[in-house]
């Protein structure tokens, strides 16, 4: 085929194998690569050299928005749009507005977190070259894979293949784009 492949994929049998292999791919200086695993592996982020996730910042923004929405909503409805004295109590007070604002803080944080996680991960993405690989099913079950993408500046079909072999990868295969 004339088209450039998406990348190379190699199989690993245990979490420990893929963990140590990942450290070596990281040290070889690759940037566009990934580990496929059926469950999160403790410490793998560090072994891959990943930075801390930015999802918490999105969550914080969501939470602040939620709290402000709650306070504003209650002030606007009960003290501004239609002021109505009930039980001789003040038209607005942050005290009685707090429980609802608190719940909205949590509600907005939850949505921000989940939407943020999807956006940062680039999901939903129902088509992906990795999912075309016929053995990838085991990657949801009990096997581990390392994928090195062809767009990585250090990628070179021969050298990258040798690296994957050296770090213990089996069944090294080219992925169709």
């Amino acid at each position: 085929m004339s088209a450039q492949p998406y990348g190379l994929i190699a199989t690993f049998e245990t979490p420990a194998e893929v963990y140590h292999a990942a450290e070596q791919v990281r040290d070889a200086g690759y940037k566009h690569w990934d580990v496929i695993s059926p469950c999160p592996i403790h410490g793998l982020d560090k072994a891959m050299g990943l930075k801390r996730s930015i999802v918490p910042r999105i969550s914080l923004a969501g939470g602040i928005t939620g709290f402000i929405t709650g306070m504003t909503l209650i002030w606007w409805t009960d003290a501004f749009d239609y002021p109505l004295i009930v039980g001789g109590k003040p038209l607005f007070s942050p005290m009685f507005a707090f429980p609802v604002s608190y719940e909205l803080t949590i509600l907005f944080t939850a949505f921000a977190t989940i939407i943020g996680m999807f956006v940062v991960n680039g999901l939903p993405m129902h088509y992906h070259p990795v999912l075309k690989y016929d053995k990838i099913r085991r990657g949801m079950d009990d096997q581990f894979f390392i994928v090195i993408e062809a767009r990585d500046p250090r990628f070179n079909a021969a050298n990258t293949g040798v690296l994957l072999q050296k770090i213990g990868g089996k069944e090294i295969t080219e992925l169709e784009p």
């Binding site: 979490p15 496929i36 469950c39 999160p40 991960n121 129902h126 992906h128």
Partner: protein
Amino acid sequence: MAHAQHAAAPAILQEVKPAVVPRAVLVQNNRSFAWITDKICGIIEGKTPTWWWVCFIVACFVASFTVAGITYLVATGVGVWGHRSPVNWGWPIVNFVFWIGIGHAGTLISAILCLLRQKWRTSINRAAEAMTIFAVVCAGIFPVFHVGRVWYAWFLFPLPNSNLIWQNFRSPLEWDVFAVSTYGTVSVLFWYVGLIPDLAVLRDRFYATGNKTRSFLYGLFAMGWRGSNRHWSNYEMAYLILAGIATPLVLSVHTIVSFDFAVSLIPGWHTTIFPPYFVAGAIFSGFGMVLTLMLPLRAIYHLEDLITQYHIDCMCKITLATGTMVGYAYAMEFFIAWYSANPYEGFTFINRAFGPYAWAYWIMITCNVVTPQLFWFKRVRTNTTLVWVLSIFVNVGMWFERFVIICTSLTRDFLPSSWGYFSPTIVDIFTFFGTFGVFSVLFLLFIRFLPIMPMAEIKAVTQQADVHSGSDHH
């Protein structure tokens, strides 16, 4: 710095070895990843068992009682329920608080135990979260229909309406609308996020066996999950944040439910102990329900390697701890009633224990305070049949707790001319009885079509997933 301390320490410390405390194994028989996947997916992929159909048909029949009760109520009016002056909050509110309370254990298991790094939660959290959602559905039925004209239930939310008036945000009942709807929504989101990797497993497995329709449906909701570690990194962070916000949420929801009572001036309700007391009671009842549901599932699907005796021990101990807290709260309420020297408060509590509802009060005490004390004994905890029976007692006891709180206080108003006695009508009984069917229908559908345990999370706590196995430092 550690080195400096080490040098300064007395020589004797060199000889002291830290105690080696063996950790309980969470997956027994050192099962492989593939075994876990096959075991949990096998439940969905296998032929629908006969017992499932029998249970499902029975559950649908029971659920029809709620449908009948609600239909009659909507066609006639709220008067068909048994509450009338002075008891204007009867069974519907009892049932609402009962079901919401049950839901709380699900969030406790998934969120609080996640933050506390209690890894044993992984085998039971999916089913417990499902229980939460279905319990909230059952709970929601009661206040929505209690408003009277249910087609105006949307007036509970701050949406512009033709009366041009807004909701009264000074009222705990309005806080409750936000608390319960946020709780329901966040529970569904949390549950769904947990499901994504497992739906991807099912997508691939159904694709491999040629079932394209089911593969498509699971795949649609799996969002194209491909087990990428770059995704896991963000996913785990998101999951942790959701756990972090679900924890204050679950505490706030039952606090606000207790405000419905505590903010009023009714003797027996107007107490500051209510929020912690309600939260403890909610967790207590929820763990009762988790045991009621998980023990049969464990037996039917032979999940003994995944829900081990250690898991059952943990659940029994939490039930014991929260049951004891509830018992303490009962005692403290009595003490404060006496200590406050308020004649109405004192009368209310004497009346609870020895008045016309004494039978309900003593059922409550027996089920909630005495029953869980049996969990002190290992012989009780290892007898799963007995644990299951005791969990039913907890469920019964917690329903009676809400009944006692609501009915004893309301039947004795300040003036004896406004005293009464609450009896439910047949419509009350039908509607409540049917919610067990609604709950069961939803739960049966869940165990048939969705993985009842989070496979990825269980794999992550097995010994094989520990890449540093042998050393205890990270």
